[in-house]
């Protein structure tokens, strides 16, 4: 049952499915109608993209919730470029489900989002990965560490570049401020889109050097 507050809010700002535009109930938290939610949350069988990198792979395991296509792709676009940040709730719900099935959450100490460069963060106003990870952290009652892994170079967007340029673009752009915090811990690194794996691998590299014992990676979508 929607609360009175939700009723009033829905009266002033009616909710619609962000993907297909159907009117939603006042207490809908996902901002997706049941059809779109069903489609996006279809079990996409444990989907394990291979890290497609010539250099050394620093993480132990990587998983994606789904393919970077269809409604999932639309949702990520809406969040990143149309600022529909409310959709991250549905997306982190997806990730929570995936973690339950494929990760042993008890063995993970910290959740870490892939950071944005400061200027980009301020321009966009939020880091979509942080929003995703907040929901996950709250659900499993795990500590989220936002500010220890930093991006210190304003890099070009990866999707515009080819494979080699991607690696070159991201070289030395991540940095761990206090390596002590991560020492001997196991972490779950989270990002939104995984294409060649360069970004998460660069992050994992600095995390590994900071002494992290086990690095698991979970991304929302894997694009080819």
């Amino acid at each position: 049952m929607p609360t009175v507050w939700e009723y009033i809010l829905n009266f002033m700002y009616p909710l619609y499915c962000e993907v297909c535009g159907r009117a939603l109930a006042a207490d809908n938290k996902r901002r997706l109608c049941s059809y779109c939610w069903e489609k996006v949350s279809l079990p996409n069988s444990p989907y394990c993209p291979r890290p497609d990198i010539k250099s050394r792979v620093y993480f132990n395991q990587v998983r994606a919730v789904g393919k970077y296509e269809g409604i999932l792709k639309q949702c990520i676009h809406l969040v990143k470029y149309k600022k529909k940040t409310a959709l991250t709730r549905a997306l982190s719900e997806l990730m929570v489900g995936h973690i339950k099935n494929h990760f042993d959450i008890d063995k993970i100490d910290y959740l870490i989002p892939v950071p944005l460069y400061r200027r980009q963060y301020r321009k966009r106003g939020f880091n979509q990965t942080e929003l995703l990870i907040d929901g996950i952290g709250k659900h499993f009652n795990k500590k989220v560490i936002n500010n220890n892994l930093k991006r210190i170079k304003n890099t070009k967007p990866q999707y515009k570049l080819n494979k080699d340029a991607r690696i070159e673009n991201l070289r030395d752009s991540f940095f761990v401020r206090k390596p002590g915090v991560f020492g001997k811990k196991s972490v779950l690194l989270i990002d939104d889109v995984y294409t060649t794996g360069t970004t998460v691998n660069e992050c994992s590299k600095v995390l590994y050097k900071a002494g992290v014992r086990l690095i698991n990676v979970l991304v929302l979508a894997h694009g080819s």
């Binding site: 002033m12 700002y13 009616p14 619609y16």
Partner: protein, 781 residues
């Protein structure tokens, strides 16, 4: 779009409009509304949703009616016994507004607590507008020591301007009443107003800081700019339109730019955008920035006087920013509906405010048309085409309302807006920036002021250039409700057209409507002769509409007052309201100012078929001008003498009975006696217009057959009326066009029904040649 929200707004407005036209008792309406509301809840409970919804809307309508009645009828009744009594009373009350500083006066609102007259002190709560204007203004105005929330005691008369009874004329009295102001007080001497204390409250903090910011802003503006740029900027930035010199105001209104001088969406949007960007620039998180911007926007709306257009824009901006904070979709139709509901709950009388109507119709049209126009014109640079789309849409929305209230449509409006709006953006930006920089020192203020001054004078120059273009604007007659309704229906329909088939259907219906409308307006014939005696004070102005749809204007009234033009304020609006395309015949009975002045503007702005005068040789500036315009516009002119006889249409005979010959002497009496006297005969009905003829000419006329059903009493019933003349005319009914007239006149006229414009207001007489019917605006007494 939330249909139930919009339904509520529509229902509420319906209620207000019905209360405006009909009288309802508000207490009963309120009780009924509660009852109906409970009924709808009961129906909802029983799952009868459709019926419940209908009943619910009915409850909203009833609420609108009851609330309007409560607000409209109850506020002014307490003060009314003290109104226009011409006796000085002692008023005690609290200053409820900022002091409005004008060059020659100070104006503020006073919430009265008690009024003391000769009979004693009365507790009277009401809102009064006080004007303090000492005769030798410059010296004593500067030490006007009162401010917001002071309690003062003042001696003065409470008055309200005469209510306007001419249809189509702006009613200042109603305008004041809509704002809850039930009387005006004029104080001339500083010693008639004294401070007796103050009435500060903790809650006034907001108002006091708003006043402080406004004061600071106007100070910065006057420091940074010379006149008239300073007043133009305070007009644009603070919505202080009245401070702007009249000629510049006229240029703004001729070019359809008046909305620049009323704080509205453009200004509020600019302020919101400037602050949002500024907060982002200084790395305030986006949501916090949005919340801060909401505060800024509302403070800005209050600084500018919280007028409906500013409040509308502020509420809409607020609703949109809250949507951003709540991560919800914003829908501007909903925001508009919320703004509308909010403003009309605070004051339901605002619905009849021109600014409210213009603001909401413009916004609605922008929301509806602008995206559609942008789709048709997806060109670069985008910002330019955005401005074009928004301006065009706003014009589509406001043109009928502008025509309705101002009878003026700007043809260069869209073009001038497109050029000026970017200017205004920069000017407002620099103006605000100057305000913040002013804390750093006067130097920066002056530098920025110099830049802004150049921009403002450039802008004013462009506007003046546009207003000087031939056909920058045209005068139009007041559109009828049906015309406005069909305009909006067709405009809305155009927005829905998608295919060529739709277009054909649209064109077909439009064509049929035009044919029906055109043939109705051309073919509809009435057999009615209608005569309107306009309420122009101590003067004559009579408008006749004949059965063949031609018309005649006899005299135009006039006053000696230099700041009130009867022609511009009364005669022209009346003729536009009547939708008169052309004055077929204009008669000047004699060239005295109170018959002549109002005709000048008619000659200037209307096509006139023929002018009839008596050929009097009379020296006055107005008469000279009158003849000059006639000559310049090549209007045929005829000098009338007794025994001239004409037929108008097939049925009406117009007989001229005077002057037989001009009395050449130069006295007022002779000029009066040379008045054209006309008698109109329509079937069994006849009517005598006598101008200002005095007793001797009346006696002379008594020799002829002048028996008439209706007589317009000669010379405003001022002097003695010849009994012989009255006996001979033997009118069933007499009409006196005057502000005051002698009591003895009433005795002379006792055998007839008496109607006078002073007590009845404007009088309309309609006849079909057999019977006649007289209707008046006010009750006859």
């Amino acid at each position: 779009m939330n249909k139930s929200l919009i339904g509520i707004v529509v229902a509420y407005i319906t209620g207000i409009i019905s209360a405006y036209f009909f009288n309802f008792p508000y207490k009963e309406m309120g009780l009924l509304a509660i009852f109906v509301f409970l009924l709808s809840l009961f129906l909802f409970e029983r799952k009868r949703f459709l019926l419940g919804l209908i009943i619910f809307y009915l409850a909203v309508i009833l609420t609108g009616i009851g609330y309007y009645e409560y607000r409209a009828r109850c506020s002014s009744s307490l003060i009314s016994p003290f109104l226009n009594t011409k006796k000085e009373v002692i008023i005690r009350g609290t200053i409820k507004s900022d002091i409005d500083i004008r060059p020659d006066r100070r104006i503020f609102l006073l919430k009265s607590e008690s009024i003391q007259d000769s009979k004693g002190s009365h507790l009277v709560k009401g809102k009064l507008q006080v004007t303090y204007a000492p005769g030798d203004f410059s010296s004593r105005l500067d030490d006007f020591p009162f401010q917001y929330r002071d309690t003062v005691e003042m001696k003065g008369r409470i008055y309200l301007s005469r209510d306007i009874t001419v249809p189509g004329v702006f009613d200042y009295r109603k305008y004041l009443q809509r704002q809850g102001i039930s009387g005006l007080v004029f104080v001339r001497d500083a010693d008639k107003i004294t401070k007796i204390g103050h009435n500060y409250r903790a809650l006034d903090f907001f108002n006091r800081s708003v006043i402080a910011i406004r004061y600071r802003l106007s100070k910065v503006i006057s420091q940074s700019l010379p006149e008239p740029e300073a007043s133009v900027l305070s007009g644009i930035l603070l919505g202080r339109r009245k401070a702007v010199p009249l000629e510049i105001q006229d240029a703004f209104s001729d070019t359809g730019m008046m909305h620049m001088l009323a704080v509205s969406g453009l200004h509020v949007g600019l302020v919101a955008a400037i602050f949002l960007l500024f907060f982002r620039r200084i790395y305030i998180p986006h949501k916090t920035g949005a919340l801060l911007t909401i505060a800024v926007v509302f403070i800005y709306a209050f600084i500018t006087g919280a007028r409906p257009s500013a409040m509308r824009a502020a509420i809409m901006a607020g609703v949109a920013l809250v949507a951003f904070v709540l991560e919800r979709d914003k829908n501007f139709y909903n925001s508009l509906a919320i703004a509308c509901l909010f403003i009309l709950i605070v004051n339901p009388l605002d619905l009849f405010n021109v600014g409210f109507q213009l603001s909401f119709s413009a916004t609605l049209a922008i929301l509806y048309f602008a995206p559609k126009i942008q789709k048709i014109l997806p060109l670069k640079p985008q910002w330019l085409f955005n401005i074009i789309a928004v301006t065009t849409s706003a014009q589509i929305g406001v043109i009928p309302i502008v025509a309705c209230y101002f009878n003026k449509v700007s043809l260069v409006g869209i073009l001038s807006n497109i050029i000026i709006i970017p200017f205004v953006g920069i000017i407002v930006g620099i103006g605000l920036f100057t305000f913040f920089v002013s804390f750093l020192g006067i130097f920066f203020v002056q530098v920025l002021g110099f830049v802004n001054g150049l921009l403002i004078s450039g802008m004013v120059g462009i506007i003046k250039f546009f207003s000087g273009l031939p056909y920058a604007f045209v005068y139009v007659c007041t559109p009828s409700i049906i015309f406005m309704g069909s305009y909006y229906i067709f405009a809305g329909w155009i927005g829905q057209l998608k295919s060529f088939k739709d277009f054909k259907k649209f064109g077909f219906v439009l064509l049929i409507t035009l044919v029906i409308w055109f043939s109705y307006s051309k073919l509809a014939r009435s057999d009615k002769l209608s005569v309107t005696f306009l309420d122009v004070g101590q003067g004559d102005a009579v408008f006749l509409e004949f059965p063949d749809r031609s018309n005649m204007l006899i005299d135009g009234g006039g006053t000696l007052s230099s700041n009130f033009s009867i022609g511009e304020r009364i005669i022209l609006p009346f003729l536009w309201h009547k939708r008169v395309p052309k004055i077929n015949r204009m008669v000047l009975t004699h060239p005295h100012y109170n018959h002549l002045d109002g005709l000048l503007d008619v000659l200037k702005y209307f096509k006139v078929g023929k002018v009839f005068i008596n050929g009097q040789n009379y020296i006055s500036g107005e008469y000279r001008e009158f003849l000059d315009i006639i000559e310049k516009k090549h209007i045929p002119m005829e000098i009338l003498r007794a025994s001239v006889e004409m037929t108008i249409g097939n049925d009406i005979v117009w007989k001229v009975l005077n002057p037989l010959d001009l009395d050449k002497s130069d006295t007022d009496r002779a000029i009066d006696n040379n008045s054209i006297v006309s008698r109109f005969i329509y079937g069994d009905f006849s009517m005598l217009f006598t101008g200002d003829i005095r007793e001797e000419i009346q006696n002379e006329l008594a020799r002829q057959a002048i028996r008439s059903t209706v007589l317009q009493v000669p010379n405003h019933a001022k002097g003695k009326i010849s009994q012989r003349f009255l006996l001979k005319v033997n009118p069933e009914c007499v009409i006196i066009s005057a502000e005051t007239y002698g009591e003895n006149a009433l005795g002379d006229l006792r055998n007839s029904a008496i109607y006078s414009t002073s007590s009845c207001g404007t009088i309309v007489l309609a006849t079909d040649g057999q019977t006649y019917h007289i209707s008046t605006v006010k009750e006859n007494h």
